[in-house]
Amino acid sequence: MQTVTFITRRAVHSIFVLLGLSIVIFTISRVIPGDPARVAAGARAPEWVVDNLREQMHLNDSLPVQYGFWLSNALQGDFGMSLVTRRDVSQDIREFFPATFELALYAGVIMAVLGITLGAVSARHKDKWIDNVVRVISYMGVVTPSFVFAIIFLLIFGFALGWLPTIGRLSEGMTPPPTVTGIYTIDALLAGDLATFWDALQHIILPAMALAMGSMAQQARITRSSMADNLTKDYIGAARALGVPEWTIMSKFLLKPSLIPTISILGLDFAGTMANAFLVELIFNWPGISRYGINAMLRKDLNAIAAVILVLGVVFIVVNIIVDIVVAQLDPRIRMAAGRSG
């Protein structure tokens, strides 16, 4: 019951944020000098075509009216035409979104599993050599931008060692599996096509790793610090004093409270992964929505920009809500406080 009220409240709050965001983006895009109608029609179109187009695009109406039209269209899934691809933006999104989502998914799993494990190992063997090694790696992971990792992985694993492919989602000549989710690896498994699955998997490893490195390192550091902090807490000492074995303390009583700050940050990072993916998509030639968005921004493809921001904004907010729910599940203090204050 509490969870439902919680979700509803967050959802309403988020809608306002999204609306605010959309207004800001829309306003900015319309305030920019330049004639969208002219750009849409092309440099050689006659004046009357452009005028008609301007009327059609409601460019002569006041800003709020324009926004109204834009919003109602958007809610129906119509984001207008992309100037770059010359297609419906919604079509572009449908094509590119799953690619980035798949990338983010794999990156997310790597971040969570490897990050937390490394952090726990580090905390367990605090100040010993393995702790120091992990700490150094984590540190380097945090200070290195993902595109640098992308380049390094590309050079080492892609070219020097030649272990893994470096371009796109599939090798030349391979066809994507029938679309169920748009996620090649999953779709391939669903279709029983192991060859495609394997190929897609090989293509996704390097970019996913590059994308995950920074956050993974951050996870390791936070988990380590959280566990190290909680190690000195009284309740650990009390459990020890009453004879609870060390193993139980480490794996249960220390781990759970330590995960709480970790999960929050993990969620935030994951939410941002889809947005930040372009850094990696550009290097690996990955056809994702993040790269599409960046191109749109560079080319001033207003419809596409607005749509991408909105879509990614929704993802961001949804992930945040999910994370908050998970954290509340983990930490009864938050649940109780939320329930009490109502």
Partner: protein, 308 residues
């Protein structure tokens, strides 16, 4: 009367001695802080790294072998050279020395950090102070709601969008980054101020009739300086990280200027053959961010230790 005179004299003497003691204790504190700071070798590494980078950036024209290469310059005869004794980091596709350009790139990196911090810290801190001190009033609600909205947006997206709307250059990009950065300072100071305003020294200042600005800036703010300072040095690193990402994408330092991210992007097209064009500027980014991070961590440990 004589009694009064005696007490006045006593106060006068004590004030002088007190000031001397203050100065000495401040020097001791500094000495102790330095000692504590240098106990962790990594912090010293950070300090030295940052110092080196600043030095190189400031004196770039004097410490680099080919300062002209940072500007418009072509030398196709020597283009695409791998690293050698002549060109430490090799040359790029039009013959410019990558080493020199990387060092000049530090200038842009530091500028990024300075721009953002200058734009972000004063308003961010001020808003945090106001919202925190006037906790529970409309000021608090308004400020924190606005902060929430800015924080609810995927960070890089907003910066990118705005940077893209405007003419792509360093200043505009950094302004965009600033727009998404300020809430963190507000949040930080808000948390501190809400706690501090209940402290006795604040309460006593209030009862003595001190003006609001006195309380905000002379009582509360000085106690926030350490966390703010720590965050600033860590942020230098992060801003440079983001700034180089923006340059990489084409929204920061514009070619032919030698921004580090820009250079990585230009070199990316020639991977893996002309790998040095991307790799060395990339390493440059890593070194800068690493340096500021180590420094910031050292400061954080220093201030945390003193809190005890």
């Amino acid at each position: 009367m004589a009694e009064q005179a005696k007490t006045l004299d006593a106060t006068a003497i004590n004030l002088e001695t007190w000031k001397k003691l203050e100065r000495r204790s401040r020097r001791e504190n500094l000495g102790r802080s330095w000692y504590k700071f240098t106990r962790n070798p990594l912090s010293v590494v950070g300090l030295v790294t940052v110092g080196l980078i600043v030095f190189l950036a400031v004196f770039a024209p004097y410490v680099t072998p080919y300062p002209e290469h940072a500007g418009p310059f072509t030398d196709f005869a020597n283009a695409k050279q791998p690293p050698s004794l002549e060109y430490f980091f090799g040359t790029d596709t039009i013959g410019r020395d990558v080493f020199t350009r990387t060092i000049f790139g530090f200038r842009f990196s530091l500028t990024m950090g300075l721009i953002v911090l200058t734009l972000v810290v004063p308003p961010g801190v001020l808003l945090g102070l106001l919202a925190g001190y006037f906790h529970g009033t409309w000021i608090d609600t308004v400020v924190m709601r606005v902060t929430d909205i800015f924080l609810a947006v995927p960070p890089l997206i907003l910066a990118l969008a705005i940077a893209a709307m405007l003419k792509p250059n360093l200043l505009n990009s950094m302004m965009a980054v600033s727009l998404m950065w300020w809430p963190w300072y507000t949040r930080l100071v808000y948390g501190l101020a809400t706690q501090l305003r209940n402290e006795y020294f604040v309460k006593s200042a209030e009862t003595m009739g001190a003006s609001k600005s006195h309380i905000l800036f002379k009582e509360i703010l000085p106690n926030c300086v350490s966390p703010i300072f720590t965050k600033m040095s860590l942020d230098m690193g992060w801003v440079i990280l983001i700034g180089s990402s923006l340059s990489f994408v084409g929204l920061g330092v514009q070619p032919p200027k030698p921004g580090l991210g820009t250079m990585v992007a230009q070199g990316a097209r020639h991977l893996p053959d002309l790998w040095w064009i991307s790799v060395f500027p990339a390493l440059g980014i890593v070194v800068i961010v690493l340096g500021f991070n180590l420094l910031g961590d050292g400061l954080r440990d220093l201030f945390a230790a003193e809190e005890v």
